[in-house]
């Protein structure tokens, strides 16, 4: 669990999708969700075909795609069964599930081919129009990322220290006996980090620089190409299906 949390699903590789600018990929992933929600079954099939082409271009195995769907599988099953239980037909139950599966698959493509730090940079550049508050939030995302591994470690340490003293956590008091020391310890981490930043004259309003690469022709080609296909799939759109 810990390792998965720290490393995410990103795999460093060289593929067409890996080389595309993270901003382009983030924008496309968000953009694709609109036709995914509006398309009729034929449109959905077309979108599924596009996603498959990109999966091949990203060199992602089918096993990896399925693994990404696993966390949401119980909820998908629940929606499907709820539709049947409330007296809807099987196609009416399957279509919303198919939409969500497609949505998750596009996200998996993004996360497999783009590292968290690339995505953070992309996010920061999208935050630029929001000025100071935007930069502040982007900075906080970075701080939160840095906290996660330490917090996981603390949680393990506390649980083991208590186990070593013969304590077996049970019920609500068992829960608070882990959470309270974890929070106290993490507050100390937060205090020392803010002291360190302040003593180095960090200031909220000061400008920060993120490494950004230039958008290339292949970025524009990709956005244009996908937009064209989406418009084509939009021709068969009939909202509400």
């Amino acid at each position: 669990m810990g390792a998965r949390m720290i490393f995410g699903t990103y795999r460093k590789r060289d593929s067409y999708l890996h080389r595309i600018d993270p901003r382009t990929k983030l924008l496309l992933t968000a953009g694709v969700s609109i036709p995914v929600y509006l398309a009729d079954p034929a449109g959905l099939a077309l979108l599924a075909a596009i996603v498959s082409v990109f999966a091949v271009a990203a060199r992602i195995s089918v096993a990896n795609l399925l693994r990404g769907l696993r966390p949401v599988a119980p909820f998908l099953a629940m929606i499907f069964l709820a539709h049947l239980a409330f007296g809807n037909s099987i196609p009416a139950a399957a279509i919303p599930v198919a939409r969500f599966v497609l949505l998750i698959l596009t996200t998996i493509l993004l996360l497999h081919t783009t590292s968290p730090s690339e995505l953070k940079t992309a996010l920061a550049s999208f935050m630029k129009p929001f000025g100071g508050p935007g930069a502040e939030i982007a900075f906080m995302v970075g701080v939160a990322m840095a906290f996660i591994p330490g917090l996981l470690l603390d949680k393990e340490t506390i649980a083991r220290a208590q186990a070593a003293r013969g304590y077996r956590p049970k019920g609500l008091s068992g829960f608070t006996s882990i959470i309270v020391p974890l929070l106290r310890r993490s507050f100390r981490r937060a205090d020392s980090l803010s002291d360190a930043l302040e003593s180095r004259c960090y200031h909220r309003d000061a400008a920060r620089y993120y490494y950004n690469r230039e958008l290339t022709r292949s970025d524009y080609l990709l956005v244009g190409g996908v937009a064209l296909i989406l418009v084509l799939s939009g021709l068969s759109v009939s909202p509400g299906t």
């Binding site: 992933t29 696993r70 996010l123 906080m140 980090l193």
Partner: protein, 179 residues
């Protein structure tokens, strides 16, 4: 959170975003629903109580962004913009107003136990309202059907989380007192 320092509340808000993310990984299976109980809601309410409206709300925005940039921080280790736009995304979006509202009510009405409990119930409502609306739209269910699968199975667990948040917030105090 007095005006002495400006960086500390930011760091604490980021910390609560990280803790909420970890809360999503601690799963407690419940028999009636395929969706397990997670601790995110507990930390959302706690953030409201401990950080106050502004920074608790900001912390939850940071939490959502952590998920968007690909950390597996949503329930069950899912992540990405797809999860936020999907059937369960409304609950996640609701975390922001929930933390804010919980903080706001305690700021206005003080930290007596009834005020804190009311603040957290209002916070829960702020999670469920967008949650049910998005679930019914995205999953193509009626509002009543969405409430049956998306609210009722969680109410018992939520009351436990609410109690836990009350106890823990009393024991750790409030961030303003750490200055």
């Amino acid at each position: 959170m007095s005006g002495q320092t400006s960086i500390k509340p930011m760091i604490y808000a980021a910390l609560f975003a990280a803790i909420t993310a970890i809360g999503a990984l601690i799963e407690i299976p419940i028999p009636i629903s395929p969706v397990p109980l997670t601790l995110q809601v507990f930390f959302v309410l706690l953030a409201g109580l401990v950080l106050g409206s502004r920074w608790a709300g900001t912390g939850m925005v940071v939490y959502l962004l952590l998920g968007i940039v690909g950390f597996p921080v949503f329930s069950g280790g899912s992540s990405g913009i797809g999860t936020i736009l999907g059937p369960t995304g409304g609950y996640l979006i609701g975390f922001v107003p929930a933390a804010f509202v919980t903080g706001r009510i305690t700021e206005t009405f003080g930290r007596s136990t009834p005020a804190v409990v009311c603040a957290m119930i209002a916070g829960l409502a702020a999670i469920y309202i967008p949650g049910v609306v998005q679930l019914s739209i995205v999953a193509g269910l009626t509002v009543r059907e969405s409430i049956v699968i998306g609210v009722l199975p969680f109410l018992i667990g939520d009351s436990v989380k609410l109690t836990a948040a009350l106890i823990v917030s009393r024991r750790i105090g409030y961030v303003s007192e750490y200055d």
